[in-house]
Each structure stands twice: as C-alpha cells, then as structure tokens.
Subunit: 304 residues, 2 copies
C-alpha cells in the first residue's frame, strides 16, 4: 500500500487520511475534466454543515462536452436519527462521514453519464466502514465502451481480491435497479458498502478505485465526442434522464441519507440531470438503437 504509507504514517487517523485522499482526488479529477471539456471551468462552492464540518462542491455547466457535472467533496459530522440508524443497521450515534461524489452529464447523447462515489463513515463507538462504487449510464449502447469500463474496474479490483469484481459488479446491478420500471439505471460497474474488515487494506482498495476513475471514463468520452447526433437523440437522452432522476429521488440511499441528515441540498441534488423530459408512455421503434439499450437494461449482463 504505497499511497497510504506516503500520505501519512499510521499515527494519522484513518478518517483524516481518507478525507485528505478524497480532497486530492477531487482536485485531480476536476483538472482532468476541465482539460477534456476544453471550454468551461469548475466553479468552487465551499460550504459548512449545520451540525459540523462542511464541503467543497465543484460544478461545471454549459461546457464543450459537459452540460452539467458536479464533483463534490464533503467531510461532515452529525447525529444519526433512529430511523436512519435502523436503515443502516447501526446504533443511532454521532457520525463522521467523508467522501467524494461525482456525476457527469455530457451534452452528446452518445457519451454515457457517469457516477462515482467513495465514502468513509465512522461512529462514536469506533464502528467504521467504507462504501462506494462507479457506474455508467449510456443513452445509446456501445458495447466496446461498456467492456472498457468494466474491465478497467475489474483490473483495479483484482489487485486486491479476485472476489471483489464479481461480488461488487452484482451488487451494483442490484443496487441501481429501478424497481417500478423493472430495469437497471444503466449498465452498472461496481458498488460496495459496509466494508468493515481490514480497514487499511480496504482504504488502499478505495484509493485504487478512485485513481482508476479517469482511466475508466475519459477514453469513452474521447471515443464518442465526435459522434453525430440530432434532435431525435436529444429527445431520447432527455427521456432517459427522467429515469435517472426517478432512481435518485425514489431509491438512492446517498441522496436520501443526505436529505434526512439535513445535508446541503444543492450539493446532494447536483446529481440530477440538467434537463429532463417526462412524456407519456414513450415507446421507441422496434429494432432501433433505443430498443437495443432497453434490452440491455432489462437483465444484468456479464460484460467481460
């Protein structure tokens, strides 16, 4: 675990090292995204949490590639409500949480939306765990892109434990499932939570996942950014973004956790797409690329 050793000695708390890593990762990712976007810059919005700590929300809008993107760092503390503690299956204690959360919504419907979140939580009673993951939501299915994304994640997982990728890939498919639509939010990636064992090794894994984000996503952007699209593709993208909003507002634990712990609403909901349409009963034409996507979202696939 060279990174851990470099950042700090074991004397520095895991929480502080995790927080430092997430903050540095935010800087790295934002700089790289600005480079790829080529037009807009991130605005910086620093904020404090009413119950302690705060965060730094970076937003990019109306870019050359990105219609809207947010890369949010936070390091907050507070009190878990009874209800929330029950859901997390922990005691309703004082908590500290630090993490990075990003969502990128490109203009070009040929470029998928991406989401990545890494977080560390600890309670007063010394219970502590990591969670997070990364997943891709295409509007049009390009299997090569999906395979690139998954194989990059698998490589990062395999460095630590060969059981990670299959386990976390399955978890991702199950987590990002829009029950009322009977379809996945996207083509998955990895998702993990409640990682309590071997905290130092887990932290090293979490860092590798964070550090692999740019390698997993940026080549897809560069492969697709010149792809042509018109009004029909835009309409489909706006329609599919409705599903994204439905998932985040109805099911997403992170969103509901944030809203229930009186988190900073604008930072939590920066994940929502910039523009969305809900038309009645949209049905794409048979054998169209739109139907090809829907088929892929119906049942989780083994992409590798």
């Amino acid at each position: 675990m060279p990174l851990v050793e470099t950042i700090a000695s074991r004397k520095v708390s895991l929480k502080l090292r995790a927080s430092t890593f997430f903050k540095e990762l935010q800087e790295t990712i934002c700089a790289a995204i600005e480079g790829v976007d080529g037009q807009s810059k991130f605005t910086i919005d620093r904020w404090t949490h009413p119950h302690g700590g705060g965060g730094d929300t970076r937003i990019i809008e109306n870019g050359g590639v990105l219609e809207k993107g947010g890369v949010n760092f936070s390091d907050v503390s507070g009190q878990l409500s009874e209800r929330l503690a029950r859901r997390l299956k922990v005691k309703p204690e004082h908590f500290r949480a630090t993490g990075i959360s990003l969502v990128l919504h490109p203009y070009n419907p040929m470029i998928p939306t991406v989401h990545c979140n890494l977080r560390y939580l600890e309670l007063e009673n010394e219970d502590r765990w990591f969670g997070g993951g990364m997943d891709l939501t295409p509007y049009y299915l390009n299997e090569q892109d999906v395979i690139h994304f998954h194989s990059t994640l698998k490589k990062a997982c395999d460095k630590h434990d060969s059981s990670y990728y299959p386990r976390f890939k399955k978890w991702c498919d199950e987590y990002f499932f829009i029950k009322h639509r009977s379809e996945g939010r996207g083509v998955g990636g990895i998702f993990f939570d409640d990682l309590r064992e071997k905290p130092e090794e887990t932290f090293s894994f979490v860092q590798d996942i964070g550090n692999t984000f740019l390698e997993a996503y940026i080549p897809i952007v560069n492969n697709r950014r010149k792809d042509r699209w018109g009004d029909a593709e835009r309409q489909w993208q706006l329609h599919r973004r409705g599903r994204y909003a439905e998932f985040n507002l109805v099911y997403d634990r992170g969103t509901l956790f944030g809203l229930e712990t009186e988190g900073r609403v604008e930072s939590i909901l920066m994940s929502l797409p910039p523009a969305v349409q809900w038309k009645y009963n949209v049905q794409p034409k048979p054998d169209s690329p739109e139907v090809k996507l829907l088929e892929a979202l119906k049942t989780p696939k083994d992409w590798l």
Copy 2:
C-alpha cells in the same frame, strides 16, 4: 344529497357509486379542458391492473394551452403489503380503490399547474374512507388567482361543514411541503384523507369538490393565457418544475402507494412535468417576481 339519490339508490354499493361518479367527472373535465385548450385532444389509454380492475388514462400533450396534462381514472383491487398497511395505519388486507387524479402543466409560465385527486378506498373488513384534494402551483404569483382558487374551494367546503376549509387548507399546506427545500410545493388548496365518518355525507362532499374543479381553475387559465412570457420565464418554470418532480418522487403518498402496489407506472407518473431543469444553485434577482413567489412558498398564508 340530490346527486347521490339520482345516481343510484342505496342498494348500489358506495364503491360502485363513487367509481361511477369519478368516471363521469373524468369525462366532464376532459371535455371542458379540450374546449379551453382549443388545439389538442386527449388520447385514451385503457389498462388493466395485474391484481384486478383497471383504469382509463387520458393524456393531452403539445396543446394550445397545455404542454402536458393527464386525467386518470382507476378502479383497482389488490393486497396491501405489511409495510404499506403500517403506513396507512390499517390491516394488511385486500383493498379496493377507485379514484380520479389529474395534473395539468400549461406551457405559459403565467398559468399555474393544478392538481386534483379524489379517491375512495375500502378493505375486506369493511373499513372504508375517502381522501383527496386540489392544489395550485404557480410559477409567478398572482394573488387574485390564488384568492379565486381558495374562495371557490371554501364555498364548496362550507356547504358541508364550516370546519372543513380551515382544517383541509392547513392539511394541504402541511402535506405539500418539500421538507428538504423548506418550502411549499405551491400555494395550497385543500387536502383531506381518512374521512371515515358519515360516508354518504362525505361522498356528497367529495362530489361537490370534484364538481367545483372547473370553476376553481378554468377562470385562472383564461385570465392568464394571453399574458406574455419569454425565455427567462420559461427557464424559471423549468426550474420550479424540478421542485414539483422532487416532491412527487420523494414524498407523495399517492405516487409511492401506486409504485408499491405495482400500479400502472405510466399512469402514476403522468403527474411529472413534461420538461424540467436542474441547474446548480439557482438564485433569482432580489425584488424580482421570482423572489416574490419564493417568499409566498416559505410560510403558509391565509389567502382569504
């Protein structure tokens, strides 16, 4: 109660009479809305529920006045899950539900969005109750419109019980509150639920509320439809519609009830706005009409 007596004798079940009334109300309202819209007609989409019964969803899109509107009738049965029964504070029995639910989203940001829902539920054990209401969501505040809406509702309530309007007005303000934004979804109206006492009188009240919908809303449409608007007003409308989607997907009981009982998703989510924007941290200019609306949504007002 002349209407009750006309529709059917007491031998016909309350459920059947309620269902008949809601269906006829749907026809009346759709015909009137088509007249006001002047351009589009409702499409009719009849469907069956997997657990019994079905419905008739009427949708109007791309109209002269309406960007999207839905008037949904349903008469379904099913089994309440343990979880849902707990939330409704009833036993997890077989249920029957019939109702009408409508949401109209006009193009012109000067015309408010309106929502109305009336419903009757009964359980195997003979427990039965009515619920419903009607509320207004403006993008720009016109106090005369709001006063007209509330006074029309008060008049209909007062025919039955002078305690209804103040009680149901307060209930509406409390129900349509977006907790994470600390603001009302709109300027309210009335909301009521669990009305179990005196079912015949309550049915008569519910019919009067249904029959007053056109009088409450159509004059507002006609007052505002010639009001001028441009891109700035459209942007604000799209932004505020984001709040509407947030409320419906995070808090609305009817929406969550429908999704959890495997209701027909397209009919339930027809309430979502046709087009929505989520930009980061939108802050209107001081002393603008946009700020005037936000002020009105912060604290419930006594409009009459």
